[in-house]
Symmetry: C2
Subunit: 309 residues, 2 copies
Amino acid sequence: MSLLTVGTVAFDAIETPFGKTDKIVGGAATYISLAASYFNKPINMVSVVGDDFPDDALENLRKHGANTDGIQIRQGEKTFFWSGKYHNDMNTRDTLATELNVLADFEPVVLDEYQNCEFLMLGNLTPAVQMSVINQLKNRPKLVVLDTMNFWMDIALEELKAVLKKIDVLTINDEEARQLSGEFSLVKAAQVILNMGPQYLVIKKGEHGALLFNKESVFFAPALPLEEVFDPTGAGDSFAGGFIGYLASTRDISFDNMKRAIIFGSAMASFCVEKFGTERLIGLTQDEIDDRVQDFIDLVQFDISLVND
Amino acid sequence: MSLLTVGTVAFDAIETPFGKTDKIVGGAATYISLAASYFNKPINMVSVVGDDFPDDALENLRKHGANTDGIQIRQGEKTFFWSGKYHNDMNTRDTLATELNVLADFEPVVLDEYQNCEFLMLGNLTPAVQMSVINQLKNRPKLVVLDTMNFWMDIALEELKAVLKKIDVLTINDEEARQLSGEFSLVKAAQVILNMGPQYLVIKKGEHGALLFNKESVFFAPALPLEEVFDPTGAGDSFAGGFIGYLASTRDISFDNMKRAIIFGSAMASFCVEKFGTERLIGLTQDEIDDRVQDFIDLVQFDISLVND
């Protein structure tokens, strides 16, 4: 089904305990689109790059089923660049450089050919850009998923709250859920956030898995215990891409199907962290994905028959 | 089936963000026995207290199915006392006081009536005491589970390693698994530790759940997301009690049954943290336990049919 994503297409330079990269292709929309491509095509992309962005990187996205017509290429300007260094625990990182470049005055444009959007994934960006994309769509999508981060809670909270009223699913991490709600308990935090607009909340806990809440129910999916987490960059976006890609492919937005989507999203995130950047998300096979999802099933399944049931 | 536990029976004074207690009854063997009592009776206890320990606390253990004949009562001496204060995140705490008292020269005695032991739970204590109990048993139990902590890794590592060669299941937390193995990745840590003696390793991650490893498989059980964690004291021991109590009641030590035991243990831990000390573990009903286990089933169950299977 028609899937639209807005988010960064960028250069990253990453340092982890396992090594470091020069400038490699990254960005939320890149990870989202690659992960979603294994479930649903095309992925209509809205983003912006400079004229330094390599054609073959765009071609690679197209090979995976992305429509890159909505990626603006700004002549004489440079692509967004982020550089970071992960600590030994891989859960914390220092940002070494953030060069906004083309992002500084990014005005997203939803092409006419994107207007049939049924599933909208708003990757982490300024809330004003996210709102602009929602407002440009003539028909309300079947499902709108939004990812954001603590930075926007710090500097653009009111704009963020306005966007939250327009969406269906919010994905944030545990610390962000605490910051947004003012509650330490994630159960209480979810109750507060679900009163801000979204019907569903996904709390991403990195190596500790993910929680899905609506007002009645909660579902927990673990992260796969891995021998090595090589590079966590893009894990959350890969999760989001697998999540909305699966939902778009099934067109079923029930809570039960969202549980499945969380597992497929978790599987894509588990691939992402196995190599630097997007490397592991390129050219996955259906067998690899099925085997990985089976690993999740094996990890959590148990069989208890309660006598009194 | 015949279940024997050795561990502390003690006084605790606890401070959490929700309040503080005077001296209340605690200790690893207390929590283990209360939690196990909902699955298997009797629980034969080996421990030591001073003459300041109240008769009604021992009577309460007996009411829950404990055999307290093996608890030495030292006249003119005082019971082990621990005092601690939890930080706001409830995952970290400061020890305010540790008075060993009767524990300082504790020599455990396994009564003749305890010799039929099939399931042995060695609660957290000096490895020498744990080894003494193993050596006093004329027949090797069907299953030996051992809990320990970083303190013994710091000051008695060789004694601890000697005991590890004698047991079947080790339960420790994630930081202790990293310390014992020298590996940061829990998957690698498990591989190292499973070569030290135990066939099974349970890594307790507190609010992030628990992992069960053997050399071939891994199972993950979440912790239940709770609105409030009131007092984490005894959660690990309640987990261990539910775990071995369920195994003893079923006499099935297969990996599949250990998965069930992990869920029952997690359920007992989730009760424990809801009130101060042992309060919530007193007088639970079967319906309460079944409902709680059902919460775990609802939390993690999902239904994915892989096309290629």
